[in-house]
Subunit: 213 residues, 2 copies
C-alpha cells in the first residue's frame, strides 16, 4: 500500500502550524518520501519534486534534509505531549484520565501513522542537538503518563508494583499502533482506542475495568 | 549508537542455519546495513563490502537485495513462531504458558532487536510472493497466542471480552520492545520479560497476577 493510498484512506495531515504554504507542502512531501523509502534513501531533490517545486525553492525554507526531519519530529512530539497533558490535566478520576490519555494517544497514532512511523523510526538520523531536544519532549510525555499512574496509586484506584515499567509499556503499546494499524483492517481508531483503554486499566489493576468500556 | 556497538553490547547473531559461512557473513552484513541506512539506501555493493567480499561473490549466494531481505525475514519469523509454539505446547496452565510465551518473545525481541527492526519495518520492501509467505507465518504466530488465550478463557482462568484484539495487543507490546530496548538501559531482557508477563496476565484478567512474578 502506498503512502498516497493511506492518505486517501484517512490519514490526517494537519500541518496547519507550518507556514507559508510552500513550507507546509515540502514538509508533507518529506513525510511521504521518508515513509516510503527511508530517510537515507531520500534526497532533497526527491522532496522538492514531490512538492512540485525546484531544489532551489526548497532551500529557501529548509537548509538541510535533517532540518526537515527535525521539524517533522518536533511537531509530532509536541502534539503527542499536548494530547497526553490534556488528558492528565482533565477532570475525573485517575482511571478516567488514563483511559482518556490512551484513547487520544491511540487515535493519534492510528490517524497519523505515516508521520508517527517516520518520527519513531528515524530518531537516529537526527543530529545530536536535535535528538537531545526530541528526547526531552519524550521524557516529558513519559512523565505525564507516570503522573496519572502515580495519582491512581496514591488514591488507591490502581495497584502497580512497577510504575516506571508500566508507564513504558503503556506508551509502547500505543506507539506501536502506528506500525500495525491499517485503514482496511477490521477496527476503527476509536475501537482500538476503546479496547486499549480497557487493557491499560487492567494493566494498572483498576477496579472493574469492564465498566470503563 | 551504531549497530556494531549494539552487537558488542550483546546482540545475539545466531544465524547458524545459514550455510556456507560466506552466505552467513553476507546475511549478517545485510542486517547491519539495512538497520543503519534502511533497505532502499543500501546497495548489494555496500553489503558485499561490509562482509569483506566482492559484489560478484555476493551474487553466488543471493541473486537480489530482496532475496537477502526475504531470507532474513523468513528466518526471523520462523524463529518467532517456534518460540511461541514451544510455549503454547509446553506444560502448565494457560496462565503459565502465556507468561512463558511473553517472556521468551520479549527476550528474543530485546536480544535480536536489530534483526527484529529490519524484519518489522521493511515488510513493504518484500516482493508480493515473499510478503504473502511472511504474512502466513505472522498469522500462525497470532493463532498460537490466540489459542493459549482461548484455552485460558475455556478453563475459566482468563476473563477476556475481545480475544482477537487482546492477542493483537499482546504481540504488539512484545514486538515494540525491539524499538525501544537499549542495552545501556536500566532493565535486562529478563527483567522486561518478567514485567511484561505480569502485565499480560493482568490484561487477560488472570487471577492473582502478582503471584506469577
Amino acid at each position: 500500500m502506498s503512502t498516497a493510498e493511506e492518505t486517501a484512506g484517512g490519514e490526517d495531515t494537519p500541518w496547519d502550524e507550518v507556514t507559508p504554504d510552500a513550507a507546509r507542502r515540502l514538509l508533507v512531501a518529506a513525510v511521504e518520501a521518508f515513509a516510503e523509502r527511508g530517510y537515507h534513501a531520500t534526497t532533497t531533490r526527491d522532496i522538492a519534486g514531490r512538492a512540485g517545486m525546484s531544489p532551489a525553492a526548497l532551500y529557501i525554507h529548509y537548509k538541510t534534509k535533517e532540518e526537515l526531519l527535525h521539524r517533522i519530529s518536533r511537531i509530532g512530539h509536541v502534539k503527542a505531549l499536548h494530547i497526553l497533558q490534556a488528558a492528565a490535566d482533565g477532570p475525573g478520576t485517575a482511571a478516567e484520565r488514563l483511559a482518556d490519555a490512551v484513547r487520544s494517544f491511540v487515535r493519534w497514532h492510528a490517524g497519523r501513522r505515516t508521520t508517527a512511523r517516520v518520527v519513531q523510526y528515524e530518531l537516529d538520523s537526527l543530529g545530536d542537538e536535535h535528538r537531545a531536544e526530541i528526547f526531552e519532549l519524550r521524557r516529558r510525555s513519559d512523565a505525564t503518563v507516570r503522573r496519572i499512574i502515580n495519582e491512581g496509586v496514591a488514591s488507591g484506584e490502581f495497584d502497580v508494583p512497577d510504575v516506571s515499567g508500566t508507564t513504558l509499556a503503556v506508551l509502547s503499546l500505543c506507539i506501536d499502533v502506528a506500525r500495525w494499524f491499517n485503514t482496511e483492517g477490521r477496527r476503527t481508531p476509536d475501537e482500538v482506542g476503546a479496547l486499549y483503554a480497557d487493557l491499560v486499566l487492567r494493566m494498572v489493576g483498576a477496579e472493574a475495568p469492564g465498566a470503563q468500556k
